[in-house]
């Protein structure tokens, strides 16, 4: 046998080639689209490449076959976003990555609050000042890839002291007749004491394979209170890499809820850094995975300063051949005395062909802290099922009732009450 030279292209090269095509298409005009930043990110991506299969944080998630598909960044498309019924939000719609003013309902936003497209020239300065400041791409190839393609995106700016009563909802819809690469970018800047709820959702309006590689960076100003929700619902051939980077300033409160309802391979990289004292952080997540769906939640709670509180609570329901991963790290740095940090991961595995890999981790370098973590993975409680059936409730209905209440534990804690119905609806649909 003779070794043949390896002529297959690296998947990275395909993405670089796609970048060049995309670049030629979109930068032939007026706006500059952060060329330096993007070039730098591309170089970084191209040099580092995707994480190797054997790397620790990708041990249980094989995204190689997804990345080897030939994707194109989609052109402008037309599709009606379905949105989320009953949310009552200010809505910003992006179709194939481009802001669609006609579908957005931002006109009645209070005057000094900004929800805008990156292409809005009046916001260029603000975007330039903050973009890629909280989501560093040096060690995150997926963030680097997203940054290289930054073209349009959503900017949310909340001025000091403002309290918004309705949520802001950013929708990214995609439609294409080819395998599409969608790279949503969202930048949320809240000034001192601002209060708001931000919901992000993605909609896939095509049966073609879609890779969504999103980056959301959030700065939570001093004493600000921000709730951030991420809803992922995809077709069986949608894959999702969602990167969320949060920077909290003094005495701020931040809630993150990540909800995953399907997709081929889903990887959430959520990292929160309270970089000042007296911050509070809630990090919640829920997924329901069926078929051969694979959902990986990779989280980092990075306690850098003293006197902060964090509570992480993730749950998952795995049916059929699904796999789930929870890789949750709570890092308490040496300075972060008097930290209270809690972490819990609970999963229900319904079949013996579904698997859950749970790796909760505490890494503590300060000596005066209160931290705990725990993980349980199991089946539905047999005694509970029997009790329900002994009251006349059919087996499948009893099962659904128990699963919905398992999920409800996370849903009920979502601060935006208008979202409870939406989330229950999704869970019920998946458990049918």
């Amino acid at each position: 046998m003779v070794n043949t030279a390896n002529v297959t292209t690296r998947p990275e090269d395909r993405f670089v080639a796609e970048f060049e095509r995309f670049e030629a298409l979109h930068t032939n005009g007026s706006s500059e689209h952060f060329p330096l930043l993007r070039q730098k990110a591309l170089r970084q991506f191209s040099a580092t490449g995707f994480p190797p299969r054997k790397s620790e944080s990708w041990k249980y998630t094989n995204i190689g076959s997804i990345l080897r598909r030939p994707y194109s960044a989609p052109d402008t498309g037309t599709v009606r976003a379905s949105g989320l019924d009953g949310l009552g939000a200010y809505v910003a719609v992006f179709v194939n990555g481009h802001f669609d003013a006609s579908q957005s309902t931002l006109d009645d936003l209070p005057e000094d609050i900004t929800v805008a497209s990156f292409t809005d020239q009046t916001q260029a300065g603000r975007v330039r000042a903050h973009l890629a400041r909280y989501a560093a791409f040096e060690h995150e190839p997926f963030t680097a890839l997203n940054t290289a393609f930054v073209h349009d995106g959503a900017l949310v700016h909340l001025p000091a002291g403002i309290a918004l009563s309705r949520p802001i909802h950013v929708i990214h819809a995609v439609t294409a007749s080819y395998a599409a690469l969608l790279q949503p970018r969202t930048l949320v800047i809240s000034e001192d004491g601002a209060q708001a709820q931000i919901v992000q959702s993605t909609e896939v309006h095509t049966k073609m394979p879609v890779l969504i590689n999103s980056v959301t960076e959030i700065r939570v100003g001093a004493r600000a209170q921000l709730d951030h929700l991420m809803l992922q619902a995809g077709t069986p051939s949608t894959s999702n890499v969602a990167n969320v980077s949060v920077y909290q300033e003094t005495e701020s409160k931040f809630y993150n809820g990540s909800f995953t309802f399907g997709g081929e391979v889903v990887r959430n990289n959520i990292s929160i850094l309270p970089d000042a004292e007296h911050c509070e952080t809630l990090m919640h997540g829920l997924f329901v995975a069926r078929g051969t769906s694979h959902v990986d939640n990779n989280t980092l709670m990075d306690h850098a300063k003293p006197n902060c509180f964090s509570s992480e609570y993730y749950k998952g329901i795995l049916d059929e051949h699904a796999t789930g991963v929870f890789n949750g790290k709570v890092l308490v740095r040496q300075d972060a005395q008097q930290t209270n940090a809690y972490q819990t991961n609970r999963s229900i595995v319904l079949t013996n062909t579904a698997h859950m890999y749970s790796k909760p981790a505490l890494e503590i370098y300060a000596d005066d802290v209160k931290c705990s973590h725990g993980a349980t993975t199991g089946q539905l409680d047999k005694d509970g099922l029997f009790y329900l059936r002994a009251r006349g409730i059919r087996a499948d209905e009893a099962r659904r009732l128990m699963l919905i209440s398992f999920a409800g534990d996370i849903i009920e804690k979502v601060p935006a009450a208008s979202l409870h119905r939406v989330l229950y609806r999704e869970v019920e649909r998946l458990l049918r």
């Binding site: 009790y387 329900l388 002994a390 009251r391």
Partner: protein, 253 residues
């Protein structure tokens, strides 16, 4: 009098161990039967077999419910057809709200009987009325099923469900244990009000006291997987006085 329940030569095992070693029992509509007997004699096992617990293997014998083979019916089917078990250890269901639970159970039953589902308001009205009858704290209806309920509250909740579901055959497994004197009284009052000519009760208990309030038509004593003695309500008094050795001795003779 028509038999609701006819048990003949019932032998069941769990994990290869024979627990019920030949039980015979006939219960007619309108009757109240009490089953007493020492710990571990198989009383709960009998109740569990009637409700359809799968861990219990039926080795031999037959159980007819309203003339049909009960052992062939699914757990939930039995309940819809009117078999109710008040659990010795009610299960906590965190996150399952009482009202949703009641709605599902009541409507499953109504569907079986060919009735329209009850409206939310109708259900609430019914729940209020029955809670009052049983003396169940109405606030418990706002909570998850049995979650964090006290021992007594759990037992009362079982009888509350009995009242809601109006079964044909109700099996009460030690509903009196863990109840304070007042609770015992009000649970017994509740049961007595639910006592009709079209409903039968099998009441498993260790204490004569409950039977002062709910006066049974028959008392049976179970020892080591068999009913070794049956009699009228005075049998319970004899037992209280003489202890189980008396019937044990009898059974051996």
């Amino acid at each position: 009098m028509t038999p609701v329940l006819e048990i003949k030569g019932l032998k069941t095992s769990v994990e290869g161990m024979l627990i019920l070693k030949g039980v015979d029992l006939v219960v007619n509509t309108g009757e109240v039967h009490a089953i007493m007997g020492p710990n571990g004699s198989g009383k709960s096992t009998l109740a569990a077999v009637l409700a359809g617990r799968e861990e219990y293997e039926v080795e031999r014998g037959t159980v007819l419910y309203q003339g049909a083979n009960l052992l062939e019916m699914e757990v939930d089917e039995r309940a819809r057809k009117g078999v109710f078990l008040a659990f010795q250890y009610p299960v906590e269901l965190p996150g399952v709200s009482m009202m949703n639970f009641l709605k599902q159970a009541v409507n499953a039953l109504r569907e079986h009987r060919g009735q329209d589902p009850l409206s939310a308001a109708g259900l609430l009205r019914m729940a209020k009325e029955k809670a009052k009858l049983i003396g169940l704290d109405p606030r418990l209806k706002q909570r998850s099923v049995n979650e964090g309920f006290s021992g007594g509250e759990k037992k009362r909740n079982e009888i509350f469900q009995l009242a809601m579901l109006e079964p044909v055959l109700a099996v009460l497994d030690e509903t009196d244990s863990g109840l304070d004197i007042d609770a015992l009284r009000s649970v017994a009052d509740g049961v007595n009000q639910l006592r009709t000519t079209s409903r039968a009760f099998v009441i498993i208990t260790h204490y004569q006291r409950l039977l002062n309030y709910i006066v049974p038509d028959f008392v049976h004593v179970m020892v080591d997987g068999r009913i070794v003695r049956s009699g009228g309500k005075e049998l319970a008094l004899d037992l209280e006085e003489k202890g189980y050795d008396w019937v044990r001795y009898d059974a051996a003779a």
